[in-house]
Structure formats: structure tokens, C-alpha cells
């Protein structure tokens, strides 16, 4: 699946590793269950590590380890399931995660702007979501009312001229 980062197609450097498969010597993504089971070994590896969370899995389970990961994949089982919006916020605030938060699974073009705002910066998209469609979706609404993880100035800040 194509990966979009910073509004353009990007190469996916991470291998998605099944729970039963051996780990390659390259950047790899494992499930939360495997991460929790093999935490010591995985963190001791010499290659970037990513963890994949299902909609119902809170990143709180990663605790302080989150900061040691390069990538966290948040899956949307169904586009209507909005838990990942809060998981991304939690990663960017409480857990201080600065690596890539990648969206995977079932989400709509019309959700991209919200996802970008709460801290997603990688998007595993279907062929339908081209970089053009992606950029259009992010540009549809110029102004926002809420402070969020993207640091965008709010309407209130703009009003105050700051």
C-alpha cells in the first residue's frame, strides 16, 4: 500500500513482521502482544522498531517504552471507530512520543485533516487517496478552533493577533 508522508509518496522502510516470523535485521513493525512478550530482545536490536496497535489497544500499554520506538502504527478497524484519534493525542502528550504515528486500515479522505491534527504523520493509504487528494483534504479548512498536536494556531490566537 502506498505510504504518504509530508504530503508526498514515501518509501516504507519498515517490514511488517508477523508474530510467528523471525525478525529481520532491518526496521521492523511488530504487534503489541509480541512487543510486550519480547520487549527486552526487541529493544536491544540495532534497527529501528515499530509497534502496531489495534483500535482497541491503548498506547498506555507501552508506557515509557513508547519514547524508545521509531514508529507506532495505529489501525482503524472501521473508519467510524475514532479511538485512534485519542491514542494519537495520548502518544504526543502523555507519552511524549516524537517518532512517526502511522495510520493504517479503514479510513476516509475526509478524516485525513483530523488525523493530521491529532498527530498522525504517516498514512498507509489505498490507491484512491493520491498525494493530490491528500493535500486537498488537508487544505479544505484553513482555520481551526482547537489547539491540537499539530501546533496549528487557533482562531482565538489569530483573533488575539498572536
Amino acid at each position: 500500500m502506498p505510504l504518504i508522508k509530508h504530503g508526498a509518496l514515501a518509501e516504507n522502510l519498515f517490514a511488517d513482521v508477523a508474530d510467528s516470523a523471525p525478525l529481520p535485521d532491518e526496521p521492523a513493525i511488530v504487534s503489541l502482544a509480541r512487543f510486550l512478550a519480547e520487549r527486552e530482545t526487541l529493544l536491544a536490536r540495532n534497527a529501528p522498531l515499530g509497534v502496531r496497535l489495534k483500535s482497541e489497544e491503548s498506547p498506555a500499554a507501552l508506557g515509557e517504552d513508547a519514547a524508545r520506538l521509531s514508529l507506532i502504527v495505529l489501525e482503524f478497524a472501521k473508519f467510524r471507530d475514532g479511538r485512534a484519534f485519542s491514542w494519537a493525542r495520548m502518544l504526543r502528550t502523555r507519552l511524549g512520543f516524537r517518532g512517526e504515528i502511522r495510520a493504517a486500515g479503514d479510513f476516509l479522505t475526509d478524516q485525513l485533516a483530523f488525523m493530521h491534527r491529532v498527530g498522525f504523520d504517516g498514512f498507509e493509504v489505498s490507491e484512491k487517496i493520491t498525494p493530490e487528494a491528500f493535500r486537498r483534504a488537508l487544505g479544505e479548512m484553513r482555520f481551526v478552533y482547537q489547539p491540537s498536536a499539530d501546533g496549528k494556531k487557533t482562531i482565538r490566537e489569530l483573533r488575539a493577533g498572536s
Partner: protein, 552 residues
């Protein structure tokens, strides 16, 4: 009232264009109905039984004359000439065409209106006390707070795909006219011992299949912290609310499963983090800036007397449709949208236009929509009342029944709604006709009948002194009675009386309940007081005592 600045205006215009593009993609087939559904819902567009329905936001129920005229114009140009005011202070059009909806929204944007978040699993249009800024019993006008909440909740990036819908109500008075305890979250302006105003926040109220009264989750939230507090509640809900069962996914279920102590602990944890980050703090200047928009009109020094009128109907209307105003010589006037035999909450384009003219003529900058599906003129000079009454009478808007047995709340029911099991409107009409005699209505006194055509409870039947719930029994409409509900400060959930009644029996059953009350009441008791004193049993015995007549 609030006026958009350049940012608000661009926000709403861009939202219209975004939706125009979504509609185009739906019409071209790029989006299927499943994908389009949450997008249209968040722009107020439902697919009903016969057609689309567009629900337009009336934030905290406040409208200007200019906005009323626009609603009249839309009713004429794009609909069948009328609109329907809802129990959430919004206005619904029942017959728009999908292709026209972006244009309707664009026209609304020219008068600072929209349909954002009037549906969908997001934070819905915020409601408030319809007597805001006018009531004598108010601590503070709740609308500046509601406006701050409205802006914060508009396209909130984290809370637009919640487990279910989320309704917030705001009140600034100890007398609850906003049904606070039946909301997902309620914000009540209160004073602490030091005399400062702040917010008491309730969580977990709701109607529907499993009704609950909300409980207090924040005893006294300081004004600048309100958004941080609300964001905390919403985050707990978004993370932990159930998503496996549509009927268990409202915050009321989470709140009552977790219990008060655990809910408070979870909210407090989020709150401490969000507050520490500081970005959601509402600065004092912003509170003042917003509050300035809602400054009351300059009240004249007037004699506090109700003038005489040659029209004998005026006194009847004044008895029920006027409420005490904070300024001497002024009154709050309720314009009933419950004519006997009419559709509760409906208004024609002619009526909307004529009301706008009346507002201009009598210096009324605002009109309000109440959750009881009536309209309210908040600041009327008492000396103008006879003239205003005369005008309302000509418009068919002078029904003298505010708070009486014929002032019935009813959902659209099976006449319009996809979800309904039974019709609501004909039942409301039949009850109103049965009790149309005004002296009988006065004899009965305050009585709130609320009718829902299905368990989703849009007609607030759980909160009715007499609640009526339409059910489907093997393809036949039946109606269950509930007694003893209240949406006021003495909130309670009505109790089911027993087996349901057929469509031909329900009016007789309601009449027996009311006759029972008249026999049992002591002194000046309202129906609700008598019910609470004597309980269900006497009502049940009298109502089921023999076969109801099948003739009606």
C-alpha cells in the same frame, strides 16, 4: 447575540464547500452511501422515510429576525413551505433534495447559520435555557459559555468519531429549563461560597432505551478551565465508551458502569494534564469578548403593569404565556407552536416572515427556540403586549397554552421518521382536541405530556409528567404510558404504568389518568406533585378499571 468575525465566517463557508465536494463525490459514485453517511450526518443531513431531512443548527436557541427570514426563504424555495422546530432547539426541513443541500447551506452561511454537527456521532449543537439573559432567576446568561463550547466543539479533531452522539446543555439558573440531568454532559453556572461564578458539570444523563439522570462529575470548575474539563470528559468517553453495541455506546452507560468515583478519577487525571499544558485555558479577555455579544438590551424604566386589553382572550394568554422578566415593565412571552390540532413545533414560511416583521416593529433583536418546541420573545415591554398579542392572533400563533396539557412535545414519529414504530403527531393532535376547552386546561394546570414514536425518545417521554411511548406490536401501533417524569430541577424518569393502549384507546387512557389526578389532588398540587404523593397504584387502578371505549 453572537456575530461571526472573519474567521468564523470563513470557517462556515469553507465547510459548505467541503460538503459540496462530498456531495459531488457521492453523486458521482466515488463515495458509497456507507462512506457518505457520517459525512452528511455531520452536516445535518438525514435520510428519512420519504426524503432527506436537513436539521439546521440554532445554537442555544437564539435567532435574529434576519435569520428567521432566511429560514422562511429556504422553506419556500427548497422545501414545502414550512419548518419544524425540534426538542434540541433546532429547525428541520423535511423535504430538501440532496443536490440542493450545498446551496441551502451556502444561503444559511450568509446569515451566520449552518447545520454543522446537528447529527452524527460527534458533539452536537449545544443547547441552553431559552429564557437566557431574561429570566429573573438567573445567575448569569449561559449563552457566552455555550458559544465558547460551540466553537471548541466545531470540527474537534479528536472527537468527531465518538462511540455515539454527545449532547451538551448549559444553564445559568437554579431553575432548570434546559433538561440538564438528561444530557450527556450538562454545564450549570453556579456560585461558590466566595461568591465567584463557575461551573457544576454533570455527566451521564440520557433518555432512549436506558434512561439515566446525570450525576455531578465536577463540583466547581473555574471558568477558564471549562474546555480543559470538557476535553477530559470527552477523552475518557472516546477511549472507553463501548463501540460493540449501538444501544450501550452513549456516555450514560459508561458513566453508570464505571460509577461516580472512577469516572471522577479518570476525568481528574486527564484534567490535570490538559490544564497543565495550558493551551485550552480560556483567557478572561476571551470570556469578556464573547460575553459582550450577549449584553442585554438597554432596558427602559417602565411601569411594571400589565395593560388592559379589549380582547378578552388576552388575559388568558397572559396567564400562561408570560414569564417573569429580570427588568420591571418587561415580560418574557412564549409563542406557542401548539395550536389545537396542529403539528407540534411546525411553523410556516408566512409565520416565520411575519414574526421577523413583528420583531423589527417591536424592537426585538432576538427570538428563542425552546426545547419544548415553542418560540420565545425574551424582552418584551409589557405595554406592547396587547398589540403583539393581536398580531400573533392573526398569525395563528396566539394559542394560550404554554405549560398546559395541550402544550405537548412530540417527535415527528412514523409520519416522517425512519426509526419510528408508531405515529406521534396524530396522538398529540387527538389529545389536544380532547382537552381543547381552555377552562378545563386551566383547571388541570401545569401538565407536561411528551410523546415519542420509538424508544429513542426524541419526544422526551421519559421526562413527561405523562409520557407516551409508541411501540409496534406485530405491525399495530400501541402506546405505553409513563407517569411522573420531569426534566426540570426536580428531574425524574417516568415509571411505566402497564400494558400499552391501542391508537383508539390512548386518548381515553390519558383522560382517565388526568381525571384521577383531579379527584386525588390536594390544594394547589400539580399533576406531578399528586403523582409523587400517591404513587402509581391509584392511577393504574383507575385507568385499567374497565375496558376503554373503542369508539374514539
Amino acid at each position: 447575540m453572537y456575530r461571526y468575525d472573519e474567521f468564523d465566517a470563513v470557517f462556515v463557508r469553507e465547510r459548505v464547500e467541503q460538503f459540496r465536494y462530498q456531495v459531488a463525490r457521492r453523486l458521482s459514485g466515488e463515495l458509497n452511501e456507507d462512506q457518505f453517511k457520517p459525512l452528511r450526518l455531520m452536516n445535518g443531513l438525514y435520510l428519512q422515510l420519504h426524503a432527506y431531512m436537513l436539521r439546521i443548527a440554532v445554537p442555544y436557541g437564539t435567532l435574529s429576525a434576519r435569520q428567521l427570514r432566511m429560514l422562511a426563504h429556504i422553506a419556500r424555495k427548497y422545501d414545502k413551505g414550512y419548518g419544524h422546530f425540534t426538542t434540541r432547539q433546532n429547525l428541520q426541513f423535511n423535504w430538501p433534495k440532496l443536490k440542493d443541500v450545498p446551496d441551502i447551506l451556502a444561503e444559511l452561511a450568509t446569515v451566520e447559520m449552518h447545520a454543522i454537527q446537528t447529527s452524527g456521532n460527534c458533539i452536537r449543537n449545544v443547547t441552553a435555557d431559552h429564557f437566557a439573559g431574561a429570566a429573573a432567576d438567573e445567575i448569569e446568561d449561559p449563552r457566552p459559555t455555550a458559544e465558547i463550547v460551540r466553537q471548541w466543539s466545531s470540527l474537534h479533531p479528536e472527537f468527531t468519531f465518538l462511540p455515539r452522539k454527545f449532547k451538551i446543555a448549559v444553564s445559568g439558573s437554579a431553575h432548570d429549563r434546559a433538561a440538564l440531568k438528561f444530557h450527556d454532559v450538562a454545564v450549570q453556572i453556579v456560585k461558590n461560597k466566595a461568591g465567584e461564578t463557575g461551573y457544576r458539570v454533570l455527566v451521564g444523563g440520557g433518555m432512549g432505551r436506558t434512561p439515566y439522570l446525570g450525576y455531578v462529575v465536577g463540583d466547581f470548575v473555574a471558568k477558564p478551565d471549562l474546555l480543559a474539563f470538557l476535553e477530559s470528559v470527552l477523552r475518557v468517553y472516546n477511549e472507553q465508551g463501548r463501540r460493540d453495541n449501538l444501544y450501550k455506546s452513549r456516555i450514560k452507560i459508561l458513566a453508570h458502569t464505571l460509577g461516580e468515583a472512577e469516572m471522577r478519577r479518570l476525568v481528574a487525571r486527564e484534567f490535570s494534564e490538559i490544564k497543565a499544558a495550558g493551551t485550552l485555558t480560556v483567557p478572561d479577555e476571551e470570556l469578556k469578548r464573547i460575553a459582550a455579544y450577549f449584553a442585554p438590551p438597554a432596558f427602559e424604566k417602565l411601569d411594571d403593569v400589565l395593560p388592559e386589553s379589549a380582547d378578552k382572550d388576552f388575559a388568558d394568554w397572559a396567564k400562561t404565556n408570560l414569564h417573569r422578566h429580570r427588568a420591571p415593565g418587561y415580560a418574557i412571552a412564549t409563542i406557542s407552536l401548539k395550536p389545537i390540532g396542529g403539528v407540534p413545533g411546525d411553523a410556516s414560511h408566512q409565520q416565520l416572515d411575519a414574526l421577523a416583521d413583528l420583531m423589527d416593529e417591536f424592537g426585538q433583536a432576538e427570538i428563542r427556540v425552546s426545547h419544548e418546541q415553542n418560540l420565545v420573545l425574551p424582552h418584551v415591554r409589557k405595554k406592547d403586549l396587547p398589540a403583539i398579542f393581536a398580531r400573533l392572533k392573526k398569525l395563528g400563533l396566539a394559542t394560550p397554552n404554554a405549560g398546559l396539557v395541550t402544550d405537548i412535545i412530540a417527535c415527528p414519529g412514523l409520519d416522517y421518521c425512519d426509526l419510528a414504530n408508531a405515529r406521534s403527531i396524530p396522538v398529540a393532535q387527538a389529545i389536544a382536541k380532547r382537552f381543547s376547552d381552555l377552562s378545563r386546561q386551566h383547571e388541570i394546570g401545569e401538565l407536561k405530556i411528551k410523546i415519542s414514536g420509538c424508544i429513542n425518545a426524541c419526544g422526551h417521554h421519559h421526562a413527561g409528567h405523562i409520557g407516551i411511548l409508541g411501540v409496534d406490536k406485530k405491525g399495530v401501533e400501541f402506546y405505553q404510558l409513563q407517569l411522573g417524569g420531569s426534566a426540570a430541577e426536580d428531574a425524574s424518569i417516568g415509571e411505566i404504568m402497564g400494558p400499552g393502549f391501542g391508537a383508539h384507546e390512548i386518548v381515553d387512557a390519558v383522560e382517565r389518568v388526568i381525571e384521577t389526578y383531579l379527584k386525588l389532588r390536594v390544594g394547589g398540587e400539580r399533576f406531578l406533585d399528586t403523582y409523587r404523593r400517591v404513587g402509581m397504584e391509584p392511577f393504574r387502578n383507575m385507568t385499567y378499571r374497565e375496558q376503554l371505549h373503542a369508539a374514539h
